[in-house]
């Protein structure tokens, strides 16, 4: 069995006196792409923030390689949904990526080559000297992804990264992310509210439900996605298995 990178052991989270996440156990293995879906307010972002160490669980244990986590680490990269706010507007694209290297105390001499490499990976090589405000939303999100790649993280946590983008841009970024994950062997936990996005990208999909009760816990379903790789927008989304899983997930989320 492959080594697990992230473990949730009966993790429950209460915020403001309300139970956001009822006790949930799951683990993410190295090289796996796990999607978390669910309706608004089901705690999927909270789960991701707990995995990042931004919030501490109210009960249970979040651990990486068996060690409980107590705060963020550079081994874990976090991609925020609101790319416009997560970038430094006064820094150029390359200087934004450089922030991750500065944080990791990479020597100034080694930075340019590493920045050029990650910018090329996300297709921003020609825009290194532009400011975020000069880029489209999709390109700004690529900058954020590039900054996270520059961290050379072991685990990438993505909070609805394509949720604010138009449909065309979202699909092309999905394909690019899938390619990156394949090429670099990344481990990803990807939060989304889009069923098709979850099935298209994920090796596994975790479905959460809102307002958990004792007989209906947060974890509604854990589904393996045995769709062949590489996937593409047309044939994968017409695959009978894709349609079957989509229907099953829809029922889990809509009528359970």
């Amino acid at each position: 069995m492959t080594e697990s990178v992230l473990d949730f052991d009966r993790v429950a989270i209460h915020l403001g006196g309300r139970e956001i996440l009822s006790p949930t156990s799951l683990s993410v293995r190295r090289g796996e792409f796990v999607c978390v879906i669910g309706p608004s307010g089901c705690g999927k972002t909270t789960l991701l923030r707990a995995a990042a160490g931004f919030v501490a669980p109210s009960a249970g244990r979040v651990s990486r390689h068996g060690q409980p986590i107590n705060g963020p680490t550079r081994e874990v990269a976090f991609v925020f949904q609101d790319y416009g706010r997560a970038l430094l507007p006064w820094r150029t694209v390359e200087a934004n990526v450089s922030l991750a290297l500065e944080a990791a105390k990479v020597s100034p001499a080694d930075r340019p080559a590493r920045i050029a490499r990650v910018l090329a990976t996300v297709g921003l090589g020609a825009h290194a000297h532009k400011f975020p405000a000069q880029l489209s939303g999709g390109m700004q999100q690529r900058v954020q992804i590039a900054r996270c790649l520059a961290q050379e993280p072991e685990l990438m946590l993505m909070d609805e990264p394509f949720g604010a983008l138009d449909a065309m841009t979202r699909e092309s970024l999905q394909d690019e992310l899938a390619r990156l994950v394949r090429e670099q062997g990344l481990t990803v936990v990807f939060v989304t509210h889009d069923l098709e996005e979850a099935l298209y990208l994920g090796d596994r999909v975790i479905a959460l439900r809102a307002n958990p009760t004792s007989d209906k816990p947060s974890l509604a379903a854990l589904i393996d996605v045995p769709l062949p790789l590489p996937r593409d927008q047309l044939s994968t989304k017409e695959h009978p298995e894709f349609l079957r899983l989509r229907r099953a997930l829809y029922q889990y989320l809509g009528h359970t």
Binding site: A52, F54, P72, T73, R74, V76, A77, F78, F80, D82, R85, A86, L88, P89, W90, R91, L99, A100, E102, A103, A104, F131, P132, A133, Q134, Q151
Partner: protein
């Protein structure tokens, strides 16, 4: 490039009317002089060097007072913005001291420093300290929380968090505060000179009035207005330049 003359029509009509009135009905008035006489008086003040000396004194003390007050406000405001505890401890003192009219400090400043540069600087610095402090504190508190999370996720040290995130994030707002303080510094410096300090443009203005020389008084008034306008325009241009440089295109 064609210059648009329309904004100048109204002031020109007003000056013309004043000139006509002062030469006819108001001849010999102790309050108003024809603008042409003010221009002659201005030429005289320029020629005998009093204009430049007084302007230099006022601008110099306003600038030094601004520098001291703004730096103090910047430091204290940053501290109060970063530390909730410091803000709680200081809030009463700030709220009590801030509304004290700066010119009410002139008697105290005179007793401590006597007449001259230091007394004027101290009053200007007091006047500039508070707006700078309050605006800096607000700017630090308004730094995009997402950026602080990015700093957290990247585990930046407290120093790096300040130099790489908080510092650059507040710069555009600091220049707005600085522009406000520039205007305050000039107003307070001239007020101190009119009220107490026997130096600078304000003193020259009040002396012209007391020696019943309305032409010279009007000349000084117009000059002070012109200097104020030029300084505010320069500060505004600087603020806009900084906002552009800090990547605010499209955002502001």
């Amino acid at each position: 490039m064609a210059i648009n003359f329309r904004p100048f029509v109204f002031p020109a009509v007003l000056l013309g009317a004043l000139e006509w009135w002062a030469r006819t009905t108001g001849k010999g008035s102790d309050a108003l002089a024809p603008p042409s006489a003010a221009v002659r008086a201005f030429g005289g003040a320029l020629a005998d060097g009093s204009l430049l000396a007084a302007t230099g004194f006022t601008l110099g003390s306003a600038a030094l007072g601004l520098l001291i007050g703004a730096l103090g406000g910047l430091g204290l405001g940053t501290l109060l913005g970063l530390s909730r505890r410091a803000a709680r401890l200081a809030s009463l003192s700030v709220e009590v001291a801030r509304p004290v009219p700066s010119v009410a400090l002139i008697p105290l400043a005179m007793l401590v420093f006597g007449f001259g540069l230091r007394m004027e600087i101290s009053v200007v610095a007091f006047a500039c300290l508070w707006p700078m402090l309050v605006l800096t504190q607000a700017a630090v508190l308004q730094v995009e929380p997402r950026l602080l999370e990015v700093a957290h996720a990247l585990q930046l040290s407290p120093l790096a968090r300040f130099t790489k995130i908080v510092g650059p994030a507040i710069v555009p707002r600091l220049f707005v505060a600085l522009r406000l303080c520039v205007a305050i510094a000039l107003v307070v410096a001239v007020t101190v000179e009119i009220a107490a300090n026997p130096h600078g443009m304000g003193y020259a203005l009040i002396i012209a009035q007391q020696s019943l020389d309305p032409a010279l008084m009007l000349a000084w008034l117009a000059w002070i207005g012109g200097v104020g306008f030029a300084i505010n325009a320069a500060a505004l241009a600087l603020q806009r330049y900084v906002a552009r440089r800090m990547g605010a295109e499209g955002a502001a």
